[in-house]
Amino acid sequence: MKLPFLPTTGVGSFPKPDYVTGAKGDLDENSREATREFIKRQEDLDIDVLVDGEFYRGDMATDYYRALGLPIADWTRSYDNRFWKKGIVDRPLRRTAPIQLYQFEFAQGLTEKPVKAILTGPTTLANWGFNSHYESREDLVFSWAEIVREEAMDLVKAGAKYVQVDEPAVAERYWETDLFREGLRRVTERLGVYTITHVCYGEFPLVYPDMPKLPVDQIDIELASELDLGSERSTLLQMMKKDPLTKYKDVAVGVIDVRPGVGVEDIGTVKKRIETALEVLAPTDEASKRIWIDPDCGFRTTKNREISYRKMEVMMEAVRQIRSR
């Protein structure tokens, strides 16, 4: 599929409508309906590579634990008044059935445009739960990698052209980047499709030097706040300017702040972010062809559906204006 300059996409999730309740990974009729509506809205906005909105998801890590029949602990806090339930690896990991295959098939069946198949990565799955079974971090991460790999292969067989492995935990244990990279490699190696890893909420300067070596075609990175800081004050942007990631990979640049309470950006702000990203990451025309545009993360945390839609509209309008120059 031929993509335009600055291809646009989503990261994955979207706030659930009120009628979707109690999601825990299964695709019920309500989450099907929400997916239909969301796919249509993205088509109307002319987004290039679509996402399914993840309306069936309870939590990006815990759903996997649940799908594998592992126990789930009570709430722990993520920030302020946000909590989630971590799963517990208390036995060898084994996948007995697909986890997200039917969800992908359903979404892709609704549109001619490509829909990304989005998986949670092995390091994130290992870090975002408890482990009382595996003795070493390697055993834990690689066991998860095997599960995610099996899932990825099923998705590719089902027609997925873009496979995104979400690894928001990449910068958490930055001294383990070799382990992280090897876990990711075990998932993406020879999949035969375009592979992406999405990273967010991290101290990226700590892992930036390792990013060129990640075994994926594209790195999708949260950047809106850093782009607002500008390359004079953002350490990460300074590193990017010195050694642009576009030398090695396609880069999807997060230009929409998805945090709750952050209002809808004006088009000028988003254009400025994109221009800064181009200045920092794309010193040549060739490099600029490697840049994609998307929000910082899934809109799930934004919570408000209308605000999320408006943010997507602003992103698309900003991209259109820059494309038309």
Binding site: A73, D74, R77, Y79, D80, F130, Y201, E203, L229, R233
Partner: protein, 323 residues
């Protein structure tokens, strides 16, 4: 105790969570949130006291995160993007310093006062000035030349606060950044002077607690030279710190962070007999009579039911040791 205690997992905690959600959605009531926070604080302090914890904290159930919250009471600071707290999947909002900072009101929550009414031994707890500076950025308008200068400015804020805290049993400053992986001794050499300028002439017992990392001999020596009454060390991340302590022959009282707070994803409850044995083996390098046993870091990495078991474990081990 170290840092925030799990907020949910009891009736009052769940009520607070729901009321806070309502508040954020614009339908909640601030006074009700305050009242529920007070109920939960009292419940947590009672839980710790009944488990024989001798110096509990107040649970910090009103803070957004464990790193930058005092700056919400300070002029000259805005909050930016959300970042990970070290290696964990918990988050903080990066503080952006945009003006000369100024303490506008007490940094300490009303909930601390509520906790003191339950028990007089409840300690005050803050993120330390060095760690707060490491989790801040200098924005446009900042008059500070660098993060070291900012740490000094934060220390001045705390000095003002400490001057108002007469009679509290202990003020603990958490300085995980002092030992975070990759931290070199050179970077923390400023700590003794920073703490001296912050604490000199004040009549308040103080502690510095470190966690989420390992100790080089140089960093440990710097930490033990700080002008505070207690230095807390993380024996979960770095069991080998005992070997370093032996070499230093300090034989002083320390904070022994030996109960796993679950920050690295382990959920098991330790065998109390094994902890007693480990603690006893420290007798040749630590003055156990003047030391505190603690979890290594905040128990909010665990669900409340597990946190409760960890608190009970600390109490049980202490009782066994006292026998």
């Amino acid at each position: 105790m170290v840092g925030p205690y799990p907020r949910v997992g009891s009736k009052s905690g769940d009520s607070l969570r729901k009321e806070l959600n309502k508040l954020y959605e614009g339908t909640g009531d601030k006074e009700r949130v305050r009242a529920l926070g007070k109920d939960l604080t009292e419940e947590i302090v009672r839980e710790m006291i009944s488990a024989s914890i001798e110096m509990p904290n107040y649970g910090l159930v009103d803070v957004h995160d464990e790193l930058t919250w005092p700056l919400e009471h300070v002029h000259g600071v805005e909050f930016g993007g959300m970042k990970k707290i070290f290696h964990t999947n918990t988050h903080y909002k990066e503080a952006i310093v945009v003006d000369r900072i100024r303490r506008e009101e007490s940094l300490l929550s009303d909930l601390y006062r509520a906790a003191l009414e339950v028990h007089p031994a409840v300690k005050v707890e803050f993120p330390g000035p060095y760690t707060m500076a490491k989790h801040s950025v200098l924005g446009k308008g900042s008059p500070y030349g660098g993060l070291d200068e900012l740490a000094e400015a934060y220390a001045k804020l705390f000095r003002e606060e400490l001057a108002t805290l007469k009679g509290v049993p202990l003020v603990q400053f958490n300085e995980p950044s002092a030992i975070a992986p990759g931290t070199e001794a050179e970077k923390v050499r400023m700590l003794p002077e920073l703490y001296s300028s912050m604490l000199s002439g004040l009549d308040v017992p103080t502690a510095v607690w470190t966690f989420y990392g390992k100790y080089s001999p140089e960093v440990l020596e710097i930490l033990l030279s700080l002008p505070v009454d207690v230095v807390g060390l993380d024996f979960v991340w770095d069991p080998e710190v005992a070997t370093l302590l032996r070499k230093l022959s300090e034989n002083r009282g320390i904070g022994i962070g030996m109960i796993d707070s679950g920050d690295q994803g382990r959920i098991q409850i330790e065998d109390s007999k094994k902890i007693v044995a480990k603690l006893s083996s420290l007798g040749d390098c630590v003055n156990l009579d003047e030391s505190f046993l603690s979890c290594n870091a905040s128990l909010e990495h665990l669900p409340r039911d597990y946190a409760r078991k960890k608190v009970a474990l600390i109490g049980e081990v202490t009782r066994r040791m006292n026998k």
